[in-house]
């Protein structure tokens, strides 16, 4: 099976939205994309499944 590089995946995401970028813009956007993928890798490396999404207020009466 063909292995796609991260750059290929980013190119295909741009193609799917008909976005054509200059070389310089592509490099800058790809840098943002790579940083963001790294960010998600770090986020996913944790256990948080017992939390509801986007909660801000908690009952802490039982907490020390």
């Amino acid at each position: 099976m063909t292995e796609f590089s991260s750059e290929d995946i980013f190119k295909s995401l741009l193609d799917s939205k008909n976005i054509n970028l200059s070389k310089e813009d592509f490099d800058q956007s790809y840098l943002s994309y790579k940083n963001f993928r790294k960010n998600y890798k770090e986020i996913l490396d944790d256990d948080f499944n017992h939390f509801e999404p986007r909660q801000r207020i908690f009952d802490l009466s039982d907490e020390q």
């Binding site: 995946i9 980013f10 995401l13 741009l14 939205k17 008909n18 976005i19 970028l21 813009d25 800058q28 956007s29 840098l31 943002s32 994309y33 940083n35 963001f36 960010n39 998600y40 770090e42 986020i43 996913l44 944790d46 948080f48 499944n49 939390f51 509801e52 999404p53 986007r54 909660q55 801000r56 207020i57 908690f58 802490l60 907490e63």
Partner: protein, 462 residues
């Protein structure tokens, strides 16, 4: 204090009207004249409502004459150009929305109209409020009044510059990762991000529905409190509005010894500019001297906050911008490059970031049971020069929101107040962040700080 109205507080302006020293029409005309002289230099405003401000001022004068003066009657306001005013363009600093005429008023515009305030114009901003430095190549370059070669900070750049240069009494900004507090810090003014959901966002363009906040930017925390009295409250037409009653009042017998102020030793002081570090630690000592319970703490989990903030924000921004991306040629390169970084996020990833946000907020809530206030710098870096800030990935652009974004994630109330000047005479901001929904306490600690210091009275030489 001089007799001009440009740097007077809301209370002082109210007093001018009450004692008939000047009318609203006279005051607003004086502001318009100053805007005409200074705005071409600093580009705080994108549009000035000269004609409407004459009509609004006459109406306000009539109300005052009839004894109907309210908290913000006749007060001169700048609105970030992300906020709808019926019949006026809301451009968001974008070429895509340059002809976007608002069909109705935002909730806060309605609030100001009910008060018979004078909305004097729309302020400059980063395109779609998506940037930290205040640079937008679509609009005339917004400049920091303290040094015209330096950035004002963003994204509410024009609002901060307008207040700093005395071109309105207060302005409204929006804050998704620090966009009220960062420019407030860089321009030497006070900027308040309220708790999530206590100021309606109806009629304010979204960047990220989970992180967006609307807040006041003013010369002082006391003025921010006056504005909060008017703009806070439940709005059934805003699905993110919280159905709770917030009380905003100045506390006369402020009991310093009962207030615990925590100074985090990690993260907020790691690798920051030495001038900023020295100034903020000196502020912490001052709070200690004033009788507050100041304590150094560690917040081990806080390092993850920025990643989670961006992890939720960017896919939401992409979702909102889906309707505009076909027009991608019209975006500024900086914002487009940043935005496209969020392409291809899966539902699993967004959900993971959203759940991790709750875990982070739970940890922060537990910590805040022990403390009333977290005391930190607002930003970690010096104010960069405009000429060095045009690339989307400069170190300053990436680091500027490192501290502020944490409190968009948690939704805690957070204020930036002036705390001194750097060696190169640029303002340094101190950030005070409180418990969720305890906005009044944060504002009153900031008011107390400004009662004991003079930093918020320093003015740029413009």
């Amino acid at each position: 204090m001089s007799n001009n109205p440009f740097y007077k507080s809301i209370e002082e302006i109210r007093n001018i009207y009450e004692t008939k020293q000047a009318s609203v029409s006279e005051i607003s005309n004086t502001f318009i004249k100053r805007i005409k002289i200074l705005n071409p230099k600093i580009n705080a405003y994108l549009e000035v409502f000269d004609k409407e401000s004459i009509t609004d001022s006459k109406k306000a004068d009539e109300y005052i004459k009839n004894g109907n003066q309210n908290i913000l009657t006749g007060i001169i306001i700048g609105l970030k150009d992300l906020v709808d005013v019926k019949g006026k363009i809301t451009s968001a600093g974008s070429k895509i929305l340059e002809k976007n005429i608002a069909k109705s008023n935002s909730k806060i515009t309605e609030d100001f109209n009910q008060q018979n305030s004078v909305i004097i114009g729309k302020t400059n901003l980063v395109e779609f409020a998506f940037g930290t430095l205040g640079i937008n190549t679509n609009t005339p370059t917004c400049r920091n009044p303290w040094d015209l070669e330096r950035v004002p900070g963003g994204s509410s750049s024009g609002s901060a510059v307008a207040v700093s240069a005395g071109l309105c009494t207060f302005a409204i900004g929006t804050d998704t990762g620090g966009s009220v507090r960062m420019p407030a810090s860089l321009c030497g003014i006070t900027g308040f991000k309220p708790s999530y959901g206590i100021v309606s966002r109806r009629g304010v363009l979204d960047l990220s529905w989970s992180m967006d906040h609307v807040g006041p930017m003013a010369r002082s925390a006391e003025d921010c409190l006056e504005v909060m009295k008017v703009i806070s409250g439940f709005d059934i037409s805003d699905k993110y509005s919280q159905n709770i009653t917030s009380n905003f009042s100045k506390i006369d017998n402020h009991k310093r010894e009962e207030i615990s102020i925590a100074v985090p030793k990690n993260y907020f002081f790691d690798d920051i500019d030495p001038d900023i570090k020295k100034t903020i630690l000196s502020a912490a000592n001052k709070f200690d001297d004033l009788g507050y319970r100041v304590e150094e703490i560690e917040i081990p989990f806080v390092e993850e906050g920025r990643n989670i903030n961006v992890g939720v924000l960017l896919p939401e921004a992409i979702s909102i911008h889906k309707q505009y991306l076909y027009n991608h040629d019209k975006y500024t390169r900086t914002v487009l490059n940043r935005l496209l970084g969020g392409l291809g996020v899966t539902a699993d990833e967004y959900l993971a970031a959203s759940r991790k946000m709750s875990k982070f907020n739970f940890e922060m809530s537990k910590l805040m049971k022990k403390h009333n206030i977290l005391l930190t710098p607002t930003v970690p870096v010096k104010t960069p020069k405009i000429k060095d800030s045009e690339s989307p990935n400069t170190p300053e652009a990436n680091l500027m929101g490192k501290f502020t974004g944490v409190f968009n994630l948690t939704g805690q109330p957070s204020i930036s107040v002036p705390a001194g000047l750097s060696k190169d005479k640029m303002p340094i901001g101190l950030m005070l962040s409180g418990r969720m929904l305890e906005d009044n306490d944060v504002l009153n600690v900031a008011i107390d700080w400004q009662k004991e210091t003079e930093f918020h009275k320093l003015l740029p030489d413009i």
